[in-house]
Symmetry: D2
Subunit: 139 residues, 4 copies
Amino acid sequence: MKLEMNANEVEAYIEQVFPQVSDYGFKIENLETGKISVSMKIADAHLRPGGTVSGPTMFTLADCASYLIVLAHIGKVALAVTTNLNINFISKPEGDLIADSQLLKLGKRLAVCEISIRSKMNKTLVAHATATYSIPPSL
Amino acid sequence: MKLEMNANEVEAYIEQVFPQVSDYGFKIENLETGKISVSMKIADAHLRPGGTVSGPTMFTLADCASYLIVLAHIGKVALAVTTNLNINFISKPEGDLIADSQLLKLGKRLAVCEISIRSKMNKTLVAHATATYSIPPSL
Amino acid sequence: MKLEMNANEVEAYIEQVFPQVSDYGFKIENLETGKISVSMKIADAHLRPGGTVSGPTMFTLADCASYLIVLAHIGKVALAVTTNLNINFISKPEGDLIADSQLLKLGKRLAVCEISIRSKMNKTLVAHATATYSIPPSL
Amino acid sequence: MKLEMNANEVEAYIEQVFPQVSDYGFKIENLETGKISVSMKIADAHLRPGGTVSGPTMFTLADCASYLIVLAHIGKVALAVTTNLNINFISKPEGDLIADSQLLKLGKRLAVCEISIRSKMNKTLVAHATATYSIPPSL
């Protein structure tokens, strides 16, 4: 397992192919072999009554952080596709979030990630997920 | 298992407590004991490169359809909370979507739903999910 | 999607390659395109205190029924491998069980199944699962 | 979060209420606040063709390790019930296994655990799971 792209290269590539993602307020805080940390600024659109961050917002963060760590390891040549995502909501989130995603497996056909989402402020675990990506055959 | 609210009552209540949800373009197409069908108009914001609907969009639809079927059965008194959602992405979606969610379990503390999301046009299965909701104790 | 083997061929093949499975008391009750029903005789070894069937027993039934339906469609040439199984336990099982597994997807690389496990006697849903299998490349 | 029972107390209690479990060859290797390590001796009954440990065996280990960590924290008064278990099979296991389960959440009604299963010999990750337990109301 080794990195094919650094954080700047990953962000520039995403900007180009998924322009909508930049609207989400994601930022790669750290990227190393097998691990990524992605922060997310929480805006009003992500909130539910009572000020809690919505489930779909946390799903999006879990999926994007994992997509980015897979991309950073397989490079631009291939476009991975999410095949499964399982998320447990643990506690009520507050304020900006940070997701740590690690690669549990990077095979030729499947990558599996484990993701912890925490409130950035107090590090409380708010959600935990696992996600599987199908990696297309290289041409 | 019996309905506490009809489709109009559910939509009016959601409009009031989750105003953002109406932006999603959801519409209850059918609601009966244990079952709901919710359609979703797909707009540009939901798309990924290549014209496919994004994973988070399908997650949102699965979660909302299930939230609505739980709400319709437990009534306004309690606010259910998603505790787990597992989604498998099956095929590339095209155009507007429809989600069929059925209650597998409606207990005092937990409700479990099974959701199939199809392309509205050709009925192809695009995603399948299961979701668990925690039901707060009635006061 | 079409069957490559009938119920007798599937059972004979399993007998040969997984002799331990016959100890489980599984029997294919029905097999058609995209669907299988597998029954399981419950013995003392499967029980938990209070007479309930153990979680691992239901996992085994869900996994085997799905493995068999995949096998029936891809034929003996390839050996599928379970990559993910998500199971929700719905109610307390009683007596013999029956699992209905249907293929949600049969792709070149991945197959996805949805499984309902019921008490054979009263048809109560006791568990619901989804499972993913990786299909090795044909030689 | 604090321990209500130590490793010896947990094993003695399990011996008494789940006598079948001792046949599985499980042993608590470590137990501390929020974390447990449980090893499993692999016998012929757990094997699949090619010498790989079966999926149901790993499910059983994941479920038991998590059940024990929940039990150690809630005490004998209550009997937790598995409501959901999601498992990803990562690589081909070899020889005896060790499961590390940690409590992600210990609420009044739900506990959520995350489990990594490794080959004891070479520490390779062979499976990863998350599990949810419903905790009955204390009397």
